[in-house]
Structures are given as C-alpha cells and as structure tokens.
C-alpha cells in the first residue's frame, strides 16, 4: 500500500508536462499531440481510453538499433477494438542484422519497400493522441520511439505508459512472497509476456509480431485488472 502511494505521488506530473510541451514543442504535430492532453491520473482505469503499443526492433539498444514495425490496438477495459488496429512496417535507417531477423521474422525484402518512420509519424501521433499507452516492458517502446522521433524532428516524444510487465513484477518480484521464494532459492516467476498470459488462462499467441504482441498486451492488462485491481483503480496507480 505504502509503496503504491509513493509511486503515484512520485510519478511525473504528466498533465503538467503535456501542457508545457504543447507550448514548447517546435513541431506542429508534437504540439497537437501534447495539446490533446494526457489522461488525468485520477481517471478510473475503466474509463480510460487505452492503446496497446508494441514495436519490433533490430536489437535492444535504442542508440544502435532501430524500429522495424509498430503495432497499435486501441482498447478499453471492456473491449479491444481490433478493427481499429494499426500496423506499420518501417524501413530502418541501419541494415537488419541476421540475429534480429530470426526474432521478428521481418526480412530485408519486407522492409526494403517500407516507408521511413518519418512518413508515418502523422498517423502515429493521431492514433496515440488522447490515449494512454499500454506496453509490456516499457524500456523498449518509450526509449526507441523517443530516439527515433528525436532523430527525425530534433525533439523527442515522452508519454506515460502502463507497463503490464511491471504490474507482474510488483506481484512476482517485489512482493514478500517473491522475496520468500528468492530466499528459498527458487527461480523467480517469469514475467515475460507469454508466461504472464498463461497465469491468467490466456491462450498462447505466436510472439514477436508487433500487432499480435500489442493485442496480447491489451488482453493481459484486462486480465490483470480483472484479477488484481478494480475498474475504479485510478490510472495514476498503474502507470509509470
């Protein structure tokens, strides 16, 4: 309880940040994005317009690797609107490595004709605008998008996210039960997307497709809220 209150008060004042950026940002699209505002932290999760976001990249380092595909699925706690999904394959400025191809199965020929990320930014901002992003493992989506946009517009993009992985981590890594397990020498519970889903009775999906992973993430959040939180939980308690 204590730690959660801490988190919510420690979380950046996203609304203020958005207002500030709406004034400061140089690029019109960014200004419009910020002007649409952030979801207020006290908004119950059931009322929040959400959007599951997943990107596939050529590697894990946002300074050296780049984005090859982006999947978006708008949703709420009640419904995942697959029909409004967005999916882009984009051409990375740096060549694909063999290693990354085996992970996300996008090949040289797939990306050869794909647009540069810069060309889809308009649509990307429109889709994200006014919605609270949901990702699994925030340390990929946020820095990669930030870096990619900074590279093209000269300024980055920052936004709050609900990270389904850290919600799992709170339960399985930071709880006293998890500490007991660790103390007993048990391996930590896996909080990867696939394994987390299994704990909620969600079906296995083929991983490493940005859109499928976004859908999988949206389903996982619905399950987490249904199992461990209430529809009234303020988003400020969930986001980071």
């Amino acid at each position: 309880m204590l730690s959660r209150r801490h988190r919510s008060s420690d979380s950046p004042g996203w609304q203020e940040y958005y207002t500030q950026q709406a004034r400061k940002a140089g690029d019109t699209r960014l200004r419009e994005f910020y002007a649409a505002g952030s979801v207020a932290p006290q908004t119950p999760i059931a009322d929040a317009p959400l959007i599951a976001l997943d990107i596939e990249t050529t590697g894990l380092d946002s300074r050296r690797h780049s984005i090859v595909s982006i999947g978006l699925v708008p949703f709420t706690l009640q419904r995942i609107h697959l029909s409004q999904r967005r999916y882009w394959v984009v051409c990375p400025p740096r060549p694909l490595s063999e290693q990354s191809i085996t992970v996300h199965r996008l090949t040289h020929s797939d990306v050869a004709d794909a647009p540069d990320l810069g060309e889809i930014l308009d649509e990307l901002f429109v889709s994200l605008s006014g919605r609270l992003a949901v990702v699994h493992f925030r340390h990929i989506e946020r820095p990669f998008l930030d870096a990619a946009i900074k590279r093209r517009l000269g300024e980055g993009l920052k936004f709050p996210v609900i990270d389904t992985m850290s919600l799992e981590a709170r339960r399985h890594r930071q709880s006293s039960w998890a500490r007991l397990r660790r103390w007993l020498g048990r391996p930590p519970v896996s909080i990867r997307l696939h394994n987390s889903r299994l704990r909620y009775g969600l079906p296995p999906y083929a991983a490493h497709h940005a859109l499928v992973d976004a859908l999988a993430t949206a389903e996982l959040l619905q399950a987490q809220i249904a199992r461990h939180y209430s529809p009234d939980t303020p988003v400020g308690e969930l986001w980071s």
């Binding site: 999947g71 949703f75 009640q78 419904r79 995942i80 609107h81 697959l82 029909s83 999904r85 999916y87 909620y200 009775g201 969600l202 079906p203 999906y205 083929a206 497709h209 940005a210 859109l211 499928v212 859908l215 949206a218 389903e219 619905q222 399950a223 249904a226 199992r227």
Partner: protein, 633 residues
C-alpha cells in the same frame, strides 16, 4: 488479408460454423473481431441485457443458464453463443457466465448478419428455424443414398441389342466383341404389343440372354451353334425403370435371384444393370450375405458368417448409407438368419403340427437393427393349438432358433422375451387377450411388456397372425388415454444428457461422465417417444420413420417438431452406427457406448442439438398425454 490476424483466423477457421466459410468471408469477419477478457465467475451476458455481437470462446469455459437458473449448456473453446438473441433482435434470454478465465472474441452483429446472408451453411448452423442438425443429416445423405440414387446413375453403357433370329454363335461373338455378359433380345413389333423405336423400326423386348444362359440353355443341352437365340431366350423377363432407386433394383435382384437386370426408360431399353455394378456401388456384401445365409445347412455354417455381417455393416456405413438403410439391411440379415434356422429346424423336426407365426420384436420388427443386438422373439400359434399334443414340437423349434441365433451373435434376451418361454409361445387368442389386458389395465410390468411387444412383425410362417395383433394394438391403444399416459410416463424414464463439454458428457445436474451409452440415452428414448405418438394416432407402422410419417398426417405434434425428431433420430442412430464401425475397425467388440473424447467437433455440436430435441420432445410428451382425471374404463 493482414497476416497479423492469422492467429485469430486460424483459430476460428478450425471451428464450426466458421470452418465452412470462404476465405473472403473469414477475412472480412476476422478483420472486425473485438476481444475481451472475463475472469472466472464473472458475468458475460446478463438476462434482459442488450447484445450486439456473436460471442466466440477463444479460451476458457462459459456456462449458459435458463432464466430460472437451470443449467442450459456449458461451452468451451471454439463454441459460440448469443446468436439466437441476435437473430431475433431480442434482449439476452439466457445469461452467460465465465466459469474459467475466459477470452471472448466478439463478431459484430452486422458482420454476423452478413455471414448468415452470404453463407447458407453458416445460416443453417446458427438459425433455429433450420437447425444445424438437419443440415448435417442432409449432408450425410446427399453424398450417397441407395434410396434416392436412381438406377440410371449406375449404367455405364448402352445395352447390346440382338435380334431374335440371330444364332447363338453370332450372339456369343457379339458379346465377346463388346465385352458384355448379357444381351437383350428384341423382335420386330407385331400388332399392339408394347414397343420402342430402334434404328427407325419398332421393336419389342423379348428377353435377356446371358453367359450363364449360353452355358445352361445351349451348351449343356447339346444345342448346335446355329440355334436361334429366340428359341432359347429365358421366357421370364424382369425389368426395372431407370428412375427407380438402386435400393429397389437391389431388392429386385435379390428377390428374383438374378444377376442381370434390364433397365428401361418407359419401354426403351437403356442398359443392363449387373449385380457387380451394385456391388461396386455399395452394400454388395449384404446382398451376398443374404443368399449365403440361405445356402447354409447347419448352425455352424451360419455362425461362420458373423464376420461377414460385420464387414457388410462397416461397408454400408462407409459408403454413406443412412440409418434406415443400415437398419433395414441389418434387420433383413437378422430375419434371414431366423428364417433359415426355422427352415433347418423344420427339416429336422418335420412340418409343424399347426400353423405358426414366428414374430420378431423390438429393433428387428422396427427394421432398425444395428450390430449390437440381442434377440426378442415370440411364437403365435394357430388357435387349434393343443399344448399337450403340440407344445413339445414348438418348444423344440424355439430352442433351436434361440440357440442358433445366439451362436450367430444375437445374444439371448436377458428378460427372457423369447419363444423358448412358454408364456411367449401361445395361440393367437391368448395373445389377443394379453394385448387387450395390457392396454386396458396397464401395470408397470404390463407397460414393460407393451413397450417390447408393440413393436412386432412376422418373420416366418403365417403373417396374418402378426397382422391381426398389429391391428388390435392400432385400434385399441388410441382409445385408452390412461394407457397412453402411462406409456408416455414410461418414455420419460431415460433422460438425455445435457450435451457435451470438452471430453465429457454433461448431465443436467452439472456432473460429468466420460462415456455415454447412445442407445440408452438417445435412440431408445426417441423410439419410445415416437411409439407413444404412433399408438395415439392408430398407426400400424413399426419403423420409427414410418411412424413419424403417420404422425405427420395428424395435428398431433406442433409445427416442425416431427421433422426435428426425425433428424435427431437419424443423427443419433448414425453416430451410434459409426462408432460401432470404429469399434470393428479397432478390433474391439462393438457396443453402444461412445467416448466424448472421440467425437469430432462438429459431431459434438450436432449431438448437443439432438439431445436438446429429445429433451424438448419429452417435455411435450408429458404435456400431451396427461393422466386422465377420471378413469376411462
């Protein structure tokens, strides 16, 4: 379509009714799917609530209840719900609750209605007006059906026509040139004889000549090669019309013991049907089998045919025969065994001292036998029967038949309903008294007898005896509401299961069974139910489908109900039969049990529907035959 939705597409494409959709429709649907997660024990659809989507269970399990709280159905992965309310634009009637963590895919109403519009099979599946069961049965029969396939379909070539004034040698030459074993002999028409036109002249069909005739009627008789064919042609000419059913042709050849059957279109010969054509087409083995049965000279020979019976059965089923075909073929085989045993007994014991009728009861009488069956039979004796003088003969006769049948795979009746039982070996007047007593004053024991003996048919001997009993039942039963009410109550004893859930059979109380006896829980209660209605409307029919035909001529059943019962009966019978074939193929003793784990996805859906039909029909039965408040006697 976008490959990114393959995950969903592949899943839905594996389950009915989506498995039958065209690629385009499937894509269109998958593109519009919405998703939601429901924790175990949470409500998915509330009674009276609005519904805007077809619900598809991607994972988990859902329970559907009636508004009064009774369990209606339990659904698992790949099942759909909500379609009835959607189709009728009604609020939710049956609330749905997740009983496990469940992921639902929603198909928006407009897509759902589009699918119903665009795909007939899909519409069949989801629409109540035309239950999916019905279309499953139709599909089963469309593929192949001896009853409806016309003879002309089996004709591969035009007949060889030869003139009556040709010599047998010329004809033998023509036959070998044309690779046929039969030729039709024609003569120019004289006067007003039935005729047909061939090469601008009028002809009359005089007969048929076959390889066998050339041997038996020419060579064996020492006739010269110059003999005219008209002089040796068989005077017996049996023909069939080209639009008759293959089944009819088969029976005709069987009845007349012929292997070549000229086929006519009106009077024009259009071909010759060979026994081998039918054999190739289907149920060949049962044909051979019947003639084989009559060629046996002892019980051991008959018993040796049991594997052939199994093969004939399996063959018929695999070739797509419907339950009526299989039932009547198996009953014909059973009757043939019985008749042959009686013939053999008579040969040994001498002719019967008074006339008798050996009657079959139960499934054989109904022409609904399957592979797993015990014997139910009885003897009706002439009224001149004198026990002290004659009974030793009939007791011996009955014993031989019973033991013989037992050796041939028709196990002895556990309830001792066999002609070996003195009680069931009685003169006609005693039988009439039995039947009257049972109808007029039904007791539990008598009701049990009624349900056994009121399916009766003669197998051998004086058919008229059995017919008199059928007449008596038909005339009397409908006049006794108390009897009908009691029979109706009896027919409610065996309840169908709720349906299937995963690899279990679901009972009404929510219990699971891992095996189901399809006869006890399905076909037998339907037979009983149909019998009550048939008795009520004075039908003399013994076969359940024939009875349904008779019932349909009355206003007895609500609109459409008779058809639903027919399809449910056909479906349950076929599943039972098919599972017996599976048992045979796996070299296990065939039984009436099916393991839900072995039931295919679509079969599972249809079985659920069929059980539902049975359950509804039973409810109606109770309502239709109330116990009279004043006794009608």
């Amino acid at each position: 379509m976008d490959v990114e939705l393959l995950e969903i597409r592949e899943h839905m494409g594996r389950f009915s009714p989506f498995d039958g959709l065209s690629e385009e429709l499937l894509d269109e649907m998958v593109n519009q799917v919405e998703v939601a997660y429901f924790k175990a024990d949470s409500v998915i659809l509330e009674a009276g609530g609005k519904i805007g989507d077809l619900h598809y269970i991607r994972s988990g399990a859902v329970e559907i209840r009636r508004r009064n709280g009774d369990l209606y159905n339990r659904l698992g992965e790949g099942d759909i719900f909500g379609h009835f309310s959607l189709l009728r634009h009604h609020p939710v009637r049956f609330p749905a609750r997740a009983i496990e963590d469940t992921l639902i895919y929603f198909i928006p109403k407009f897509i759902f209605l589009n699918l119903c519009e665009a795909d007939e099979d899909f519409a069949d599946f989801v629409e109540l007006g035309r239950p999916r069961l019905e279309s499953a049965v139709e599909k089963q029969q469309k593929s192949n059906n001896l009853m409806t396939t016309r003879v002309r379909k089996l004709l591969s070539r035009r007949p060889l026509l030869v003139e009556a004034d040709m010599t047998v040698q010329q004809i033998a030459q023509r036959m070998s040139e044309e690779y046929v074993s039969a030729a039709l002999v024609i003569t120019p028409v004289e006067g007003g004889e039935p005729s047909f036109v061939h090469e601008t002249r009028s002809w009359q069909l005089q007969g048929i000549i076959t390889d066998l005739d050339l041997r038996n009627r020419v060579l064996a008789q020492g006739l010269p090669a110059a003999t005219l064919v008209g002089d040796v042609v068989s005077p017996r000419l049996i023909t069939i019309q080209s639009d008759e059913s293959v089944h009819e042709a088969m029976l005709c050849m069987l009845r007349c013991n012929i292997h070549h059957l000229p086929v006519l279109n009106r009077r024009q010969p259009v071909g010759v049907l060979y026994l081998s054509d039918i054999i190739r087409y289907e149920t060949n083995t049962s044909l051979y089998l019947v003639s084989n049965i009559f060629n046996q000279t002892d019980v051991r020979g008959l018993a040796a045919l049991v594997p052939d019976v199994r093969n004939a059965f399996a063959h018929m089923v695999k070739e797509g025969a419907n339950s009526m075909m299989v039932g009547s073929a198996m009953s014909t085989i059973g009757r043939s065994f019985t008749r042959r045993l009686l013939e053999l007994a008579e040969e040994e014991l001498g002719p019967p001292p008074v006339p008798y009728c050996f009657m079959a009861l139960g499934s054989m009488a109904r022409n609904e036998q399957s592979l797993v069956t015990d014997q139910d039979n009885a003897l009706i004796l002439d009224d001149r029967f004198d026990p002290t003088e004659h009974d030793a003969y009939f007791a011996a006769l009955a014993k031989r038949v019973s033991e013989g049948l037992d050796a041939c795979g028709y196990t002895l009746c556990k309830g001792d309903v066999m002609a070996t039982n003195t009680r069931w070996r009685q003169p006609l007047r005693v039988w009439k008294q039995y039947f009257s007593d049972w109808i007029e004053d039904p007791t539990p024991e008598r009701l049990l007898h009624s349900s056994i003996f009121f399916d009766l048919d003669s197998v051998h001997g004086e058919e008229a005896f059995a017919e008199q009993l059928q007449d008596l039942v038909a005339a009397k039963a409908s006049q006794h509401p108390l009897f009908l009410a009691a029979m109706a109550r009896n027919a409610l004893n065996r309840k169908p299961p709720l349906g299937f859930f995963r690899t279990f059979v679901m009972e009404k109380d929510g219990k699971h069974n891992d095996i189901i006896n399809l006869k006890r829980r399905g076909t037998a209660p339907l037979v009983e139910l149909i019998r009550v209605h048939a008795l009520a409307c004075g039908s003399r029919a013994q076969n359940s489908f024939d009875r349904l035909d008779d019932i349909a001529k009355t206003q007895l059943l609500p609109e459409g109900s008779g058809e639903r019962i027919r399809y449910a009966f056909e479906f349950l019978s076929m599943v039972r039969i098919r599972h017996q074939v599976i048992d045979i193929e796996q070299q296990q003793t065939p039984d009436n049990n099916i393991e839900p784990g072995n039931v295919s996805d679509s079969e599972r859906h249809h079985l659920k529907d069929a059980f539902q039909v049975l359950s509804n029909a039973q409810k109606f039965l109770k309502f239709r035959y109330p116990i009279p408040t004043t006794r009608s006697r």
